[in-house]
Amino acid sequence: MSTSPPVWTSETASIAGAAVHVARAGDGDPLVVLHHDIGTPERLPFYDALARDFTVLVPSHPGYDKSERPAWLRNVRDLAVVHQWLLASHDVTRDPGRVTLVGLGFGGWIAAEMATMAPRAFRRLVLVGAMGIKPERGEIADQALVSYIDYVRRGFADQQAFDRIFGAEPPTAMLEQWDLNREMTFRIAWKPYMYNPSLPHLLGGVATPTLVVWGREDRIVPLECGERFAKALPQARLTVVDGAGHWVEMDKPDELARLVGGFACT
């Protein structure tokens, strides 16, 4: 374990005809983080914390942030297949049995889809505030009805964390990127919004040990979805993080990194 800050490098992989951007740092066992529907800042304390113990890959989903938008990609399972392809072709992740896959929110949905496609493939799966299952009582918050800033703020339990990461008044370039990411989300997850009705039926085949993490104050995906993931996945347990909203990795980076690290090393 190193104490100096990790060095991040950028790579581009060509997957299904699209240039996919991958950020990489650290060494150790491979760990892949799949980001939210809002995209991700290039650097986060959470990523740095993971990079102290793992070789961390943070790919940008096709159509988000620095990755190219493939015009044909129109559903979340397509996106899951693209990521399977990426992992299969990357030196670090070629042996899926060593890979810990961490999905944040929307990325959690993609990770869950990937797990159903390859039920025995991954070493560990971590789903954090994952979308993908339709809540029975509440609703998944609809970003189409609120502004970019209001939606991102809604995902924080700690509004000062928003200010720290994005600035109290995020610049226009950030808004444009959120708009582009939102447009891509609409292209692939508009209807039904943010879930796949078949997913709950397919999770029962996933043999990968799974940690389901939820922010106690998640105002985007109701906690009941976490309970349902934990129930539907045969080898899963649910951990709830106090003082965290939907973006657990930005509200409580150290705590989430500890949870992920501890689980991945068991």
Binding site: A144, L145, V146, S147, Y148, I149, T172, L175, E176, W178, D179, L180, R182, E183, T185, F186, R187, W190, K191
Partner: protein
């Protein structure tokens, strides 16, 4: 010239304070404020206005539709078009238009339009629109595929009108095993298609490439000129000349017996405290993927309250730049002449009143337009050579280069 009467069919019978309190008069402004008793009265008044407009000498009646908002009660323009098909005798029924992306079955639209065309004896002009941003949300239709759906639905409808069935259609958004509607338009090759718009360059380019007239919706004169510059350039590249028979304009124009009354009533064009689509909500009116990518920075800043509506302007400014014209017939004619001279449209829609303008004042306005303004404009149109697509026998489109005529009348 082709001179049309238009009203947004405002649902003005609600408490304006409620809209202000809610902060928007669109999408989620609750329909508990919709009074069906007033709705019934207003629909029937609007029908009377259309009847009056035909009697007053208008060439066409322009209809449109919108959803989830009081600025326009008409939730389905084909319903009013059907009524007018039977109720009127002479006027063209000009739909501007059916919002194609909102349709899940464009063949159904093709059938409805064919029925309207046959019932009216071949008087249909079938415009198509993308629908407003909030309407994508109201209909649950993906705003990111708005333009794709527009173009594909258009292709399917024109095919259903012009190609003998049965045939199969396999598109990206629309797949139909058997297209074979037992209702085809009376007009051949097919009813005229006019494309209205206000802001998106993509729509102007598309209309010019297809050879469809474009109807500029209440844009200011300089912006309108830029539209025709772009239209004519693209038209020339596509191989046709553009010019007046491809140009339409919707003018907000209220006339009354006195200047004071006309001005007071014209203020009602701003009756919902904002742009003509009401008090817009910046996020709902511009969902991601819906607006033109070239305006992305402007729209994202608007969405978070850092910029005013790219589509809006104040009443006094709109009077000044003639987006709104108001007065007695005598004072509005020179203003309209200026518009015709500077922008040279052959199709003119008159959006005659709005909001809380009384039934009586609207009827007076229609009568005065018919008695004094329309005859004057026809003379100016002749003088300036502004021949409408009907007068010029202009082709329906680039793909169907002949004028539309009722079958059997050729």
């Amino acid at each position: 010239m082709h001179l049309m009467y238009f009203t947004e069919q405002p649902m003005s019978a609600y408490d304006a304070q409620e809209g202000l309190k809610f902060g928007a008069t669109a999408l989620m402004f609750s329909n508990r404020h919709f009074d069906p008793v007033a709705g019934s009265r207003l629909y029937n008044e609007y029908l009377e206005h259309y009847r009056l407009a035909e009697a007053a000498g208008f060439d066409g009646i322009m209809l449109n539709e919108h959803h989830n908002a009081p600025f326009c009660m008409q939730a389905k323009c084909n319903i009013f078009a059907s009524i007018l098909a039977a109720m009127t005798k002479r006027v063209k029924i000009v739909l501007l238009g059916n919002p194609l992306p909102l349709a899940d079955n464009p063949v159904r639209l093709a059938e409805e339009l064919a029925m309207i065309d046959m019932i009216s004896g071949g008087r249909l002009v079938s415009g198509f629109v993308r629908g407003g941003g909030q309407e994508q949300l109201a209909a649950g239709v993906n705003p990111a595929f708005n333009r794709e759906r527009f173009e594909e639905a258009h292709e399917l409808i024109v095919k259903a009108w012009t190609q003998t069935g049965p045939f199969r259609f396999e598109g990206t958004h629309y797949q139909h095993r058997v297209v074979n509607p037992w209702a085809v338009p009376l007009q051949k090759p097919h009813p005229r298609v006019w494309i209205p718009g206000v802001l998106s360059k993509e729509t102007i380019v598309w209309a010019a490439q297809k050879g469809y007239p474009y109807i500029a919706l209440s844009t200011e004169i300089e912006a309108t000129k830029k539209i025709w510059e772009l239209y004519d350039k693209v038209a020339a590249d596509a191989g046709h000349a553009g010019g007046p028979e491809f140009r339409g304009y919707l003018q907000r124009c209220h006339v009354a017996e006195t200047e004071e009354k006309a001005l007071a009533n014209a203020r009602q064009f701003m009756w919902m405290q904002g742009e003509f689509t009401g008090l817009a909500h910046p996020v709902w009116s511009s969902p991601s993927g819906y607006f033109s990518p070239s305006y992305r920075a402007a729209f994202v800043e608007y969405a978070v309250g850092r910029r005013s509506n790219p589509r809006g302007a104040a009443f006094e400014d709109q009077l000044q730049n003639q987006q709104i014209v108001a007065g007695t017939p005598k004072t509005v004619i020179p203003k309209l002449r200026r518009l015709l001279e500077e922008t040279r449209p052959s199709i003119m829609g008159f959006w005659a009143s709005d909001g809380f303008v009384s039934n009586e004042d609207t009827r007076t306005c229609i009568r005065l337009l018919g008695e004094e303004v329309l005859p004057a404009l026809r003379e100016i149109g002749k003088e300036l050579g502004l021949w409408s697509p009907f007068e010029a026998n202009a082709p329906v489109s680039r793909a169907f280069p002949e004028p539309a005529r009722p079958a059997g009348a050729r």
